[in-house]
């Protein structure tokens, strides 16, 4: 009976203040859609950046002749925790690569002898940032027999900077949008509280506890948030899988966070429910207190 009452009352707002409910549901879905987009863009950007960072390699040019046997170098480098993989480019293969890349123009050079042997090193993911890469480069530079260490530091710096910018912008947009959604939920609940003031007054008068009076509104906020999240997740899926994929096929290679669209969908539903519930609870508490008894 009590459960039945709660459920009936929590959906009755949909009937009593339909306009407010629709406005909230719309805003809630749009807000959560934007939040979802921010998350997705951040995630995509990260994937792209990780892909680019993966390509950054350290070239370690060796003095000629080598200070120690190549095998010893390789063994030492491979045991370095910062290093994922090492390839040795001998003088000969450096020349071959040069010739392949420059073709006949390469013939202009009399001898390929000027190309030194080198190691090409890929760092492990955790070291693929400007500071760590610089530290590793310094360390390698200090090794005996190393002529020069070269890598694209500018690219790493630029990537880092862009990631930071995108993250801040995403967080900013997400925050503002969420705030708007919260304001709207608070307002909707205020309207449904107003629409039910006679009921609330009577409940207060006969001694219903504050929580009991508030619960249907909290449940209403919870349902609105959940619905908003579900709608937002659906729109996001359509946007990405159908619209974006057909206009920008490059995005097809990107993965969904958690490897499955349902993960983000579920997260949005949960997050929406939480936001809806908390703002409704806040609003209901405030406005139920202000409902006079006579």
């Amino acid at each position: 009976m009590v459960i039945g009452y709660l459920l009936r009352e929590s959906v009755s707002g949909f009937r009593r203040a339909p306009l407010a409910v629709w406005a909230t549901l719309t805003t809630m879905s749009l807000a959560l859609l934007l939040v979802g987009l921010v998350v997705l863009i951040a995630y995509d950007a990260r994937q792209v950046v990780e892909g680019l960072k993966e390509k950054v390699e350290l070239e370690v040019f060796l003095l000629d002749p080598p200070a120690r046997p190549i095998e010893a170098w390789l063994a030492e480098l491979r045991s370095d925790p910062a290093i994922e993989s090492v390839a040795y480019i001998s003088k000969d293969s450096a020349a071959a690569i040069f010739r392949r890349e420059f073709g006949t123009e390469a013939e202009l050079f009399v001898a390929y002898d000027f190309l030194p042997a080198s190691f090409r090193i890929h760092l492990r993911p955790a070291w693929r940032n400007p500071d760590s890469a610089a530290a590793v480069a310094r360390r390698l530079q200090a090794m005996e027999g190393v002529d020069e260490v070269v890598y694209n530091q500018a690219l790493l710096l630029r990537l880092e900077e862009n990631v930071r910018l995108v993250s801040w912008m995403g967080a900013g947009v997400g925050f503002v949008v969420l705030l708007a959604a919260i304001v709207l939920v608070v307002n909707t609940i205020r309207l449904t509280v107003y629409a039910k003031r006679l009921l609330i007054r009577t409940m207060k008068l006969v001694g219903a506890t504050e929580w009991f009076i508030r619960l249907p509104f909290v449940l209403e906020g919870f349902l609105l948030g959940m619905l908003g999240g579900a709608l937002a997740g659906g729109m996001l899926f359509v946007l990405r899988e159908l619209v974006l994929a057909s206009y920008l096929p490059a995005f097809q290679v990107l993965r969904w966070p958690g490897e499955h669209p349902l993960m983000l969908w579920g997260a949005l539903v949960l997050f929406g429910a939480l936001v809806g519930m908390l703002s409704a609870s806040f609003s209901a508490k405030r406005f139920i207190r202000r409902t006079p008894l006579s």
Partner: protein, 228 residues
Amino acid sequence: MKAATPLVILDRVRAGYEGRAVLDGVSFRLDQGEFCYLVGPTGSGKSTLLKLLYMELLPISGLVQVGAFRSDTIRPRQIPYLRRRLGVIFQDFQLLPDRSVFDNVAFVFYVTGRSGRDVRTRVLHLLTMVGLSHKRYRMPHELSGGEQQRVAIARALALDPELLLADEPTGNLDPHVSEDIMRILWNINRQGTAVLMATHDYAMVRRFPARTVALVDGRLVEVNPGVL
């Protein structure tokens, strides 16, 4: 003879709205099972005094005590439990228009966390007490004013309160319907519930004489009901 126990105590109460005192220096005591009228010109603060008792309003200074609940120590979350010990009825009945007579009364049980077959029996008993069990499926707007007030009384008595507060319960009713309502209140009082009734209706006070207090210029004085 059993010594009377105080149910309500007001001790030098000052109360009002936004710092403006409507009541000032009001002291009052109501015993268990007592019947008392509260009279005074319009705007003198009768409703304000009743609000103090169901603690919709807390005093600026002084003490209000109802049963074990004291205005100086009560927490907001305890107020519902105070209200379960009280019944309140108003001039405008304040029934819920969207549910039947039966559900208006049963509502009290639901919202205070009771349900089941006992509730049904109890609601029927209450409606019988006010003579309306045959109209239990009617909606409030299908009832006369007097009948609506009787539903409100049944609702107020649902949780077996020790005290019934009535704010001009006959204010909207014509004389002979008012008399029916008075008779019901009188009977309730005879069964042991204390009643405090704010009223303008001096004819009714003379017809059913009982202790009478009057609010004059923010103060409370005992008056002789015969001289009203």
